[in-house]
Subunit: 255 residues, 4 copies
């Protein structure tokens, strides 16, 4: 079993750092790099490209809302077609930095509230995937299981992998439990390991209610900005490898 271990990186700005990006790059196999809207700047992006390349980590653009103060986590009633243009701007900026650095953006995803908005309003995710494809027909997206994004990506012929979160609770519709609700964040390493175990055993994850749900996951996301992120990432990697699995970049898994 091959799994991509994915994380959101480059989430600092100017002098501010977020997680321990450079250590995580040695553990994970694909990175979603912030592109200057909700976090990140040209200098940080450049460094992320360098480190991703050194570690053969698949490089993705993590596009977000134009809201540095709110870290792109505040839903904004922005026009869908404006959002699309902002997403392309960010993707192009990272792609250029990658290209000059001798590397390549091979996947793209939306951050924070932009993702949530795409769940509430399919137009957001459709326009987003349309513009990703228009920019690079080979780009990979990794929507969540059973999402409209997954269906739409397949419909327009984008390469996809299915992504689940190692450290977030799910509801019975296989959607993430809202961050503000109790139990939404999984902080016990043992619980993270149990999820990996179960996923590798029978391809299921368990919702907060106890319901088991089949997911065809190729990609596991761990957060970079929580305390203990490096340890959680290492734990997931070891859990996969100790069960005979292999951590490989998203580019080797997407179909």
């Amino acid at each position: 079993m091959k799994i991509d271990l994915n994380s959101d990186l480059g989430e600092g700005f100017g002098r501010w750092k977020s997680g321990d990006d450079e250590t995580l790059m040695k553990i994970i196999s694909s990175a979603n790099v912030a592109c200057g809207y909700h976090a990140g700047d040209a200098v940080i992006m450049h460094r992320m490209v360098e480190v991703a390349k050194e570690n053969k980590v698949a490089l993705g653009a993590h596009v977000g809302l134009p809201d540095l103060l709110g870290f792109g986590r505040i839903p904004m009633d922005i026009k869908p077609r404006d959002m699309q243009k902002h997403a392309l701007y960010q993707l192009g900026a990272l792609a250029a930095i990658a290209q000059v650095g001798g590397y390549k953006v091979t996947h793209a995803s939306s951050h924070g509230a932009m993702g949530q908005m795409g769940i509430a309003n399919p137009e957001y995710v459709e326009l987003l995937f349309d513009v990703f494809k228009a920019f690079d027909k080979d780009i990979i997206v990794a929507p969540q299981p059973g999402s409209h994004g997954m269906a739409y990506a397949k419909k327009i012929g984008l390469r996809t992998a299915c992504k689940i979160f190692a450290d977030r609770a799910y509801d019975d519709n296989c959607r993430l439990v809202n961050r503000r609700l109790p139990g939404a964040l999984i902080t016990e390493t043992a619980d993270v390991v149990a999820r990996i175990d179960q996923l590798m055993n029978d391809g299921t994850i368990t919702a907060q209610s106890g319901k088991r749900m089949k997911v065809d996951a190729q990609c596991i996301l761990v957060h970079s900005d929580t305390p203990g992120a490096v340890e959680i990432a290492r734990t997931v990697r070891e859990a996969v490898e100790s069960r005979g699995g292999q951590i490989v970049p998203l580019t080797e898994l997407a179909s």
Copy 2:
């Protein structure tokens, strides 16, 4: 005689407009489009790409300092290599928007204080041209006559055109007179026409002191944000055409 008529466009932000970009696009032959740092945003950039394409205007990235409040006109003691990364970020963003819009960025230039900093410190202009070339070896730059930028561009094998300003005074070293000094801005249409006349007659311009200087100019810049910008642009176009010249995009002139 073929001349490129060039202007800085897309210098609004969000709800704010600067010049009458859409009318100017019908008159000029190449546009330097602001890329979101000193002015411009993804929505405006997208529109500029559309209109440039419609009017067959050569599209350029006008990269600037990260200073929206100061419109990129305030020199900042930013590290040259950081400036280089910010420039690439902007160029990549516009290139992506152009590509998806079925068009192409064919030239690039620096705005405001970034340009001045490149005069004071050659490292800025060298790093800038290096990164332009690394992104696209065929990209065109249009430095001022006799500048270090021109020499360096030729040295590294960038395609170049020589640019002069229709509406700015020059000193005896063929440098622009500082904007804050008296007479720096040429506002009389007759003076602009006289400059074009002279340029087409004998290939010279006259400095503030009265000194005549030989310039091998292929590209004439008119500002978009001054009152009467549209009229000045029309006047320049007519002056060139009535003397048997032809206005053509930068891409047809650069060597």
Copy 3:
């Protein structure tokens, strides 16, 4: 009959201008000055304070969402208590500039989406008025007729005036018709004059449906950023004065 003629001013940013603030200051009697979040900056605010003082125009803080790109017109799901802190920040900034300039902020209001959010969620407007009062118990607010804001302001003992818009359509609940709907903006001078006429005759305005509604308006807002704003403001002033009314600052009218 005494009426305050009110307008939103200082809505530029850096090099960008919005309306003809300086001319409008000679016509109106109270100004809502942008405070750097949705528009405005310290330099513009300083100038607005000077010109308001020169013209004896009542000075208000026009606080907005932290969204320069969207001009504060995009609803954001910001926490109400964060919004409250941002409002206070802006009010304090303008109050300091006014104080040092020998003038005073005497009223405050919310701009764009912050106002809309206060209609959808009373907590926003309550927290806003609470913090205005905590900063200055004598500050004036000018909510719309019949609004929750008006009721709440009276309840907590804030000085109030009732504000209507000269150039916007109303629905049958005396709420503004959404800007994006047809007929929302009144652009014919004759229609603006008719509204003033009617208001001065019998204290009513007419909704889009034709319904006449009684309003106890002391304050009439004209926009500064529409084409013809200066002319509309002059027209309103003349309409009031020619019917024997008097334009006076908000400070003389609030109860």
Copy 4:
């Protein structure tokens, strides 16, 4: 001997944190709070006011350049009178938050490059102190020993204390050694303690060259954003107290 222990706090932005502000507030006696330009935002400022009040820490406005990306550390050729307006904006914002929180801004200082610019060009520091005084004639400033700022503050009748840095090297003119030069930052706790010792013994500090210089210091600054900042602050506090000194707020020391 009474000493004020001072630190720059509130240097986060949105989701980003800088130092351990809340712990430091229990150790220091005066805080310079970032006001939203180089760092800080209304929510963080509000929290800093609360914690300063709880710990009876003297509250200061730490005003900076409008450059979040560069953390206000990049010199900008901004017009002195614009800088003055930006400083007042920031001071007013914090003063309002303090007032509503039942506390008060009692001192003010400039951050990073704004401070450096004031050394290179006296006009900056003069306009800054002028506007601090115009806003609040009782406000305290804490310039460095022998600086033009100190002389000017005394000339215009501002209350002053003299500030030295616990963790920065000095040159023979009692100016800070540039951050980028070797040895500029003192990182060994023993060296910090030695400086305090010497200061309390004979009122001198030693320059990098070995030269001893008399300084009449009432205020010692420790940085909040270096690793080990809390420990350094505690060390300084203990060094002062163990030698019979007393840590008291700036407000009790300024003359």
